[in-house]
Amino acid sequence: MTESALDDIRILDLAGETGVYATKLLADLGADVIRIEPPDGDPLRNVGPFWHDEQAADRSLSFFNLNTNKRSITLDITKPEGRALFEKLAATADVVVESYEPGYLDSLGLGYAGLSAIRPDIILTSITGFGQTGPHARYKWSDLVGVAMSGMMTLAGEKEDQPNRVYGNQGYMCAGIDGAAGTMMALVHRDNTGEGQQVDVSMQETLSINMETAMVTYDMNQRVATRTGSKGVIPIDIPGIGIYDTKDGQIFAYLGTPGGAPWTVMLDWMNSEGLAEDLNNEPNISMIRGLNLRFLTGLVQEPDKLAERIQVLGHMHAVFTRFCASMSKWTLYEGAQNQRLMIGIVSTPEDLAKNPQLAHRAWYQDVPHDHLGATVRYPGPPYRLSATPWSLRRRPPLPGEHNTEMFSELGVSAADLQRLHAEGVV
């Protein structure tokens, strides 16, 4: 049997959308993660998209992906008996992960003070919008609010539009990643010392570093970076930099970058396709030979030559635009990369599904779902560990699928379980 990095760790998963990626990451590395769902249904199961577009508790693709390798029990921790059962379970657990409003678990007696009284070395990872302390700790949050307050949103989009949100609840994803990393760090500390602790993860803080140079630019130069849209910081047409339409989609080009082939290599390719038009003539050819980042950043330093240069660059851009429009995106992407020209395909989800590199590396994973009578295809590992690999061992659970085995482990008799079920505790 392959060993795992976390097969000695049990995690109780109370996380909502904000933190649930963390428990998925830890489950996929081998931890025994028990998802605790409220008896009236886990709200995560209502989040689309759904398998075959059938909205049902056992068909949410979002839930599927975020709950691989987990077991599920249903338990109402707000009821006294439910709380008692949770405490029994906590005594067997190494980690609890949650994303309630700060103070909520304390109000049930299940905050860090309560849990560490039951299990002194427990790690409680709390993943919330703004963290456990500070004046905004009780502010309500959503993914959008985190992304906005972090500063990263102010950099995305066209000036005329609303600042752009990033697709796919990336606030929750980043908070989940840092929540998993923080949990691992606390586990390493516990391995060393036997000491547990609370890990405090603020979505706003995890996201802030995504604003790239904006923070340090203000700190050093008192300049406030803002969104510059598709043209970027140099608002002129530059051949081979930016988004280009192709026959069947788009590419993103960044020619002339250090480490890559020079523009003349692109010109050779255009020549071989018979699509270079007049780029081999002056003044275009001289411009092409000198076209690199240093030239571009120096453009503004010679204002007397700027107008003429913009005209030549604009013409080259137009020729390059026509070249791209005559090719397919995959030909441009793979053809350019094989010559060390920096072009990336603007992948659609379909392109991602058909990506030959991901296929070669068998990245996608097919997981049988007996209740659907079908196999569901999942994204694969974010990382590959040679000795303790990421793996999908178990499909995501149905609601309360593991009630019987978990509660019998806690010494609850079948009759009691039936009664708890009838009383809405389980």
């Binding site: 609010v145 307050m149 500390h189």
Partner: protein
């Protein structure tokens, strides 16, 4: 004083730009000794990228570089020389954790592939962050965050449908997605090593790590054949959902646009919003009565809301909406983040460090707070090669004479 979790752990940081250095910085933040390996023959590109401390120039004053390298020792080692490679191998022998995000070609050329490293250090944990993986038809494809944004789907899926897929204005996966995933893997490998004494190789293909958080779009295609594309700030299950323009600010004598971001996911939040707006008559219209109808009339809904938000500051609206139970936040810019955000200040998120060339500068804080063993950056970003002598003597065990030779041979360069 409590020991930090990684005290005594030794890290050889052979990375550059964002994804590698940020991961190594976080190992140092939690107690590890990190030696950052650089070379003047192959300078980290970020040392040459703005912003620079006002009025300063040179390799040591880039805020971009400095922000990802605080707390590290800095060793310049020219791996293109024989002696430089030898010294690099000594560092590999010393370390517990090795990390690089150099291309596969450079890793091979410098003899830093895992098979080579385990010969020197059998229990090493070696983390590689190739752009597309260590094997496969695209293994030598190159790029950086902005290109990766396109290849991995962030560009196609983010922004407005009537705009080109321009992306997020940043090299997004470089900052959390790739360094964060790598950190998890390294810490997992450390636990395994502690239990078994065995090291291992970690391979984080930046392509794979960056597509993983886009699962809903990928799975929607796989299961349903639907090809999602960008839809602006709107969501299928919330309405309104977006950023709404507020009263302009004046900053450096120019108007500055200001925005409040919020989304309405249920009827209680909708009532909170209507209440905050002062119960305007338009909001009572049947076409805004439910999520479904609001979705149908979203253009009109957003126009009405903007008439209201335009009359108020983003700060006022955040406080008001929060008081009504609506999750709302200012679309903060860097000045807000550093100067105005009282919450981040109270939590002490940003760490200010005195740097010999830039002066006192701000650094991003810990991505997570361990309440009993909080991480900290123990020193500002290093000057290029500032610890050559210390590392050579104390870590690599070189004599003064050997150090002099290494200098002459331009190995410490």
């Amino acid at each position: 004083m409590t020991k930090l979790p990684l005290e005594g752990i030794k890290v050889a940081d052979f990375s550059w730009f964002g994804a590698g250095p940020i991961c190594a910085e976080n190992l140092g933040r939690y107690g590890a000794t990190v030696v950052r390996v650089e070379s003047e023959a192959h300078v980290d590109g970020l040392r040459g990228v703005q912003p620079f401390a006002t009025g300063k120039t040179g390799y040591n004053v880039s805020g971009f570089f400095n922000n990802y390298n605080a707390g590290k020792l800095d060793l310049t080692l020219n791996l293109n020389t024989e002696l430089g490679t030898q010294l690099g191998r000594k560092l590999v022998e010393w370390c517990d954790i090795f990390i690089t995000n150099h291309t596969n070609r450079m890793v091979d050329r410098w003899g830093l592939a895992y098979d080579e490293l385990v010969k020197i250090n059998p229990t090493i944990i070696a983390a590689y962050q190739p752009m597309q993986g260590l094997d496969g038809p695209h293994k030598d494809f190159f790029g950086f965050g902005a290109v990766l944004n396109a290849i991995t789907g962030y560009n196609e899926l983010s922004g407005y449908p009537n705009r080109p897929p321009m992306g997020l204005g940043t090299n997004y996966p470089d900052y959390v997605i790739n360094p964060g995933h790598t950190l998890i893997a390294i810490l997992a490998a450390m636990r395994y090593r502690k239990r078994t004494g065995k090291g291992q190789r970690i391979e984080l293909a930046q392509l794979e790590s960056s597509v993983a958080p886009l699962a809903p779009a990928v799975m929607d295609y796989m299961a349903n054949g639907r090809v999602q594309t960008r839809a602006g700030n709107r969501l299928p299950h919330a309405s309104p959902h977006g950023a709404f323009r507020c009263k302009d600010n004046t900053w450096q004598d120019a108007p500055e646009d200001r925005w409040i971001a919020f989304g309405i996911f249920d009827e209680a939040q909708w009532r909170g919003l209507v209440d905050a707006m002062g119960d305007p008559s338009w909001a009572a219209d049947a076409k805004f009565a439910s999520l479904d109808t609001r979705k149908q009339h979203e253009d009109s809904l957003e126009a009405h809301i903007t008439e209201w938000t335009r009359e108020h500051t983003a700060e006022e609206l955040m406080v008001l909406l929060q008081s009504k139970g609506v999750p709302a936040g200012i679309v903060q810019n860097a000045r807000d983040i550093l100067n105005a955000d009282a919450h981040l200040k109270a939590r002490g998120y940003y760490q200010y460090l005195d740097h010999p060339e830039t002066g006192r500068s701000a650094y991003d804080g810990a991505p997570f707070v361990l309440t009993k063993t909080p991480g900290t950056l123990r020193s500002p970003a290093p000057l290029l090669g500032q610890d050559n002598e210390y590392v050579c003597k104390e870590i690599l065990g070189l004599t003064d004479e050997e150090i002099a030779d290494a200098l002459v041979e331009q190995a410490l360069f």
